[in-house]
Amino acid sequence: MGRMFSRVFFWALIGCLAMVFSTGAWAAPAIKIGVMAPTTGPWASEGQDMVKVIEILADGFNQKAGLTGAKIEVVVGDDGGVPKTAALAAQRLVTSGIVAVVGTYGSAVTEASQDIYDEAGVVQIATGSTSIRLSEKGLKRFFRTCPRDDEQGRVLGDKVKELGFTKPAIVHDNTSYAKGLAEESRAVMRAHGLNEVYYDAINPGERDFAVALSKIQAQNPDIIVFTGYYPEAGLILRQKKVKGWDIPMIGGDATNNRSLVDIAEASAAKGYYFVSPPGPGDMNTPEALELFKIYQEKHKGLPSSVWAVLAGDAFNVIVEAVAKVGPDSTKIADYLHSGLKDYKGLSGNISFNEKGDRIGEVYRLYKVNEKGEFVLQ
């Protein structure tokens, strides 16, 4: 028995050594790309989709011989959707030796991590953080694949006017995203001569909006402009229907999520408008279709919102930049600012301006039909 064991052990050792040598001979050290996403907390479903998309893309690159001979290693940091947690996650990610980081979703969360990445010399590409001031700080290594709130506010205000409404009631939820969008779109609507009849906030995470609805109804508006997120938007639609009040409602891109219809039910969500970058189902670039095919096989269904796809875009442009200029964050940032033009991304062509914001018109108007589907207008 003893001899047999030692023989097995011997061959096992040889095997291990062979493996170590073989990988050592082929691969340069892996290039680490960070992903900071809310994989737990209130936006966990967004964050988990972001990670799923990036894992599929990274697998694809690694199978195709990788990047300049090196494998890509994705390092995930959970920001929990909370600024404080994001600061910790960012610290951990920068010490793990990443060249660039994708993320994150919420604007306030991104803001808490910006300086940490900047000081560590890491390129950051935010994916769902649309708050204006993030790219107004002069940070050389900050980019985003999502549009900004002022762009969204302009489109939202224009659409309210184009749809022929005259007495908007504006509701936000006190988050920096929703408040920013409410203020931007209010300014645009006022410039069009549409003065709001109501302007106030609800609290995110709450479920009872009966008081807010009865206050809004007393002002007799002809449309509700809600700039918050889908869980509350869904509840407002549902409670509005229970109340028997048939008033149109329009929202921003944070309501572009299938859960909105689950929460409100199709009969209450019918007729709801929102402006958003095109959702996963409306993306038809060959790159996106290929991604969705694999995603569908692996996770049964599409990503539930556009933000995960924009995270994939962020990941792709990092990989593209590293392939062109190597894993040096200053060179990557320079390349993204001026070298990268009309890169074929999942959500369309990608270029960045000198502030790191994505260039080009991205927003579209959607309307929910009677089956609860989001229809591009």
Binding site: N203, G205, S214, K215, R238
Partner: protein
Amino acid sequence: MAHFIEQVIFGLTVGSIYALIALGYTMVYGVMKLINFAHGELFTLGAFVGFVFLVTLNWGGVFGPVLAIFLTALIVSGSAALAGHLLERVAYRPLRHSDRLAAVVSALGASIFLQNVIMVVWGAQYRAFNASLLPTVVWKIAGQSVPLIRLFVFLTAVLTMAALYLFINRTRFGLAIRAAAIDQGAAKLMGVDVRKVIASVFIIGPALGGLAGLLVGIYYGQINFNMGQMYGLKAFTAAVIGGIGNIPGAMIGGLLLGLLETLGEAYVSGAWKDALAFVALILILVFRPTGILSERVAEKL
């Protein structure tokens, strides 16, 4: 005036849910002087167990709405009670003779653990209850249209609380609970089985909390894994306002908090409603530091 009555009805519904959850905090505190931070998660668990029976298994379609809700309520209370009992066995009983701070840390840990278990089992996305579960009936009360379901939530909460009140004040076991709350050592000497009393508060409290979760699910139609945080915080506040450790206090505290929030939103501003409600609560605590109903400090329950 009609507007005011409408707001009061809104406030009582919201408040009755806070009150139902607050009872769990207050009973545990009364007997053990421990704040069970995991109580909010037992509330969430109730909502999800209700989701399994009413939505996944569609009992509403099988048994009809009334019977389905009744049966689901029994199962929900039962499973939340079971979870509460396990929680006490695993997280609190081993620490009964250690520092109180250790128990608080254990409670926080249990809360994070349970929340993440719920996320892993049911997923991170929002889940929706079927809106057509209960027929949409609207009643006219004092010139106000009140959806039947609002009344249903309020009445269920109030009846449950009344039953608990009678149980605590009119039965032998209720007497034992009250005795253990006043002085565990003396109660033991008088032949009260204190272990059983502690086990019982960890069954009754979670059962009520789970029921509140089910009511929120049925009424608002939307649940998610971290809903217990916000409701837990509000209910804990309600328990403190009413005088923590005091059962009628938790009921009054819950209803009061619901009313304060609603009236603050209706007459001042939605953006400020939490701030206003909490300013009012701080004022109450300044003038009555032990809460509204805890004048008899010696008798906690």
